[in-house]
Amino acid sequence: MRRLCTFYLDDMLFGIDVDAVQEVLRYQTMTPVPLAPTVVAGLINLRGQIVTALDLRRRLELPERPVGLLPTNVVLRSSAVGASLLVDSIGEVLEVDDESFEPPPETTQGITRELILGAYKLPDQLLLLLDLKKTLEIGTEVQA
């Protein structure tokens, strides 16, 4: 059994280990970081700590979040990284078992193949397991 914190992006359900999550916050105003990689949405003040918010839609190369839909912050536990994932909305904490897990089919391509470890087959939908470590490897080179 594995407990996953789940969230939605473009109507798809994703999950990461619940232990990796420090807290979930409603939308926070962000300070943009010019010249940073585009996946960096901005900086958030989390009780005096500076946290880098990553736009998970951009990271996964999904369509841009519709205007007016304010993202939710999933703040990650590792304090050295100081990162938050911006998601469309937060789901429940789900217990999944390994029996229902399946690695991504050979046909998947591109970024999803890189960042998604596989899917748990829930009765009504697929729960995609995100590779958190790779997701945070956004490269250090900046634009232009």
């Binding site: 500076i50 050295a80 990284v81």
Partner: protein
Amino acid sequence: MDEAVQAFLLESHENLQQMEKELVLLEQRPGDRELIASIFRTVHTVKGTCGFFAFSRLEVLSHAGESLLSRLRSGELSVTPEIADALLALVDAIEEKLVSIETRGDEGTDDNASLIARLTTLAQPGGEIPPPPAPPGRPGKSPRRKATARPAKTGARRGSGKGPRSAKAKVSVAAAAPSAKLAGTGDVRQAVQAATVTESAVRVDVRLLDGLMDLVGELVLVRNRIVQLSAVSAATELASASQFLDRITDQLQDDVTRTRLQPLNTLFNRFPRLVRDLGTACGKQVAIGMSGGETELDRSIIESVKDPLVHLIRNAVDHGVEPPEDRVATGKPAQGQITLKAFNEGGQVVIELRDDGGGMDAAILRRRAVEQGLVAADESAQLSDREALRLVFLRGFSTARKVTSFSGRGVGMDVVKNNVESIGGTVELASELGRGTTTRIKIPLTLAIIPALIVRNGKQRYAIPQNNLLELVRLEGQQAHGGIERFQGAPVFRLRGKLLPVVHLKHELSGGRPGEFEVRALAREAVTNIIVLQADGRQFGLVVDGVDVTEDIVVKPLGQLLKGAPLYAGATILGDGSVALILDIVGLAQRAHVLADAAPRVVAARPAGAEEAVERQQVLLFRGPESGRMVIPLEKVARLETFPILAVERIGGREVVQYRGGILPLLRVPSHFAGERDRVRLGTTVEAQDHLHVVVFTEEGRQLGLVVDEILDIVEERFTVEGVGVREGVLGSAIVKGRVTELLDVQKIIGEAQTPGRRRGSGDGQ
């Protein structure tokens, strides 16, 4: 006991514990180079340090171990159970010595001859001897079994509790800073002092301080809110209460911040002794001068730079400073000088270590790196001299011709670099052959508080560290239009008659082509704010949308995800709770090319008796004949102009242009100095352009336009004019921005321009 010895003991105990753990791991992963390197460093450190304290037996012992490890590291030998046993025995023997030093004040009488012999034999090629009979005095205990039994033993001994040791045990549990081990060491030292001296200090977990700091940050925000609310409320009692809250919060913020800071002097104070001892041991006379020790840094960071600095000082004394005879022979004073300087720059703390020794020879570095198989020959040939200096950061690199007791095994620079980078810092090297080497360590302040100017770019606010700030210039109305001029794609502003390169913040942050922004767009603005900044000893102007206030900000590191961002020195939280980025002024200047390649300038001590004029001056750098680089003092330059080629007229074989109601004679730099054949060729190149780039001089009321191929830069540098290449019109050569550059004799060429036809002037004979 000597405080330094105390510190050495505590540190070594910890390192040995670590090494023991690593040795056990190494047996499981015999090929692990990282592990071998780490173990090697531990032994190297023990050896090096005990050399200073004259623990000669310990030194001989660890030297034997180091020799064996050195061969493991180079891959000449591989780890066998025998070797692992011998190394574990080494750990025990060192521990024994340390305990003896701690309890009796000396190393004891055991010279560990059999262990040294064993280590030495193992280090020989094919020297894998069967394990010798157990050393006398430890009958019936095979080294192997001892290794596994050790943790319990250590625990027991610690439990038996002398003051300092039990204190240490507590600390290593409590230490929690990113560099936990180093921070722990600091705690230990304090703890020991506290235990032995008074009980006036209390040790506090670093995590607790971090937590307090964050809470105070929150409190400040709440305070701001309350103060705002009370201002619009009629209740006088609320007003006085909020004032009280205001004061207390300020005080609290101040105090909590200060708890985490320490002056660098806590570290610097140990160096004079170190330099003296090292100098004596190497047979050299070395003095150390230090400044900026009052610079405050987060204490965990101070601990983290300790080892790198000790390494660098060791290198400077051992490799940098030459033996007295050699120094005297080259005209230097017999006593070498090491200078250690700390200061704040661009939201970072810079620690600069300079020696006036022999410097590093890029050619030798290249050759050594190839010999040691660290880079391929063709690869090394392509490295610039500056890049070649960085070869010393490769693991295993060594330049020393002989292995000495202190250095020369190639441990050092790679460790220095790793340690500094692990706390988000950088190491830069500059060296001048015969003059010395400068190492600059730049480290983030992390939690330091610095005064900063808050500026606006669009809706966003940015902080500029006050120590980069020279002045603010505000251009309004008519002034704002055309206040910034454009020359050769390089915007400049005339500040009290001097040309100041200008950088547009909005342009740089929007990812526009570095340094090239549209001056005309600025001219439409009603107000132009120029912040005059200084970075790396050079000045430039930064155009921003607005200027807010100056306030003290708490520098916070950017997370790992933004570690590579070159324009920011960190972030801070403003009074309203929003996050503002702190601009890295040096990075910004580099991006906008106002610092050019920003090679770290080595301002080495002048050799005694040298007559050259060393002065710092601003010069205009341009491309002259045969693509040579030339400079003229900026003070002689009146304006930089561009004339269409069609505006050039001829009078008596001389080219002139109409300029500001007068006639400006033109002199072509390319044709002026080039040979007959080149003159024609270069003349055509210039002719092929539509416009002429002209530097207008004024000298004793006379004006002259100097036509140049290309304006390269405005540079402020300290350089030495040497007599090389003196000829008609050229005063001599100097190294400007790392390249040989000719210095134009302005007076001479103006004089010539006034007497046409005497020598080859500009237009004649073409």
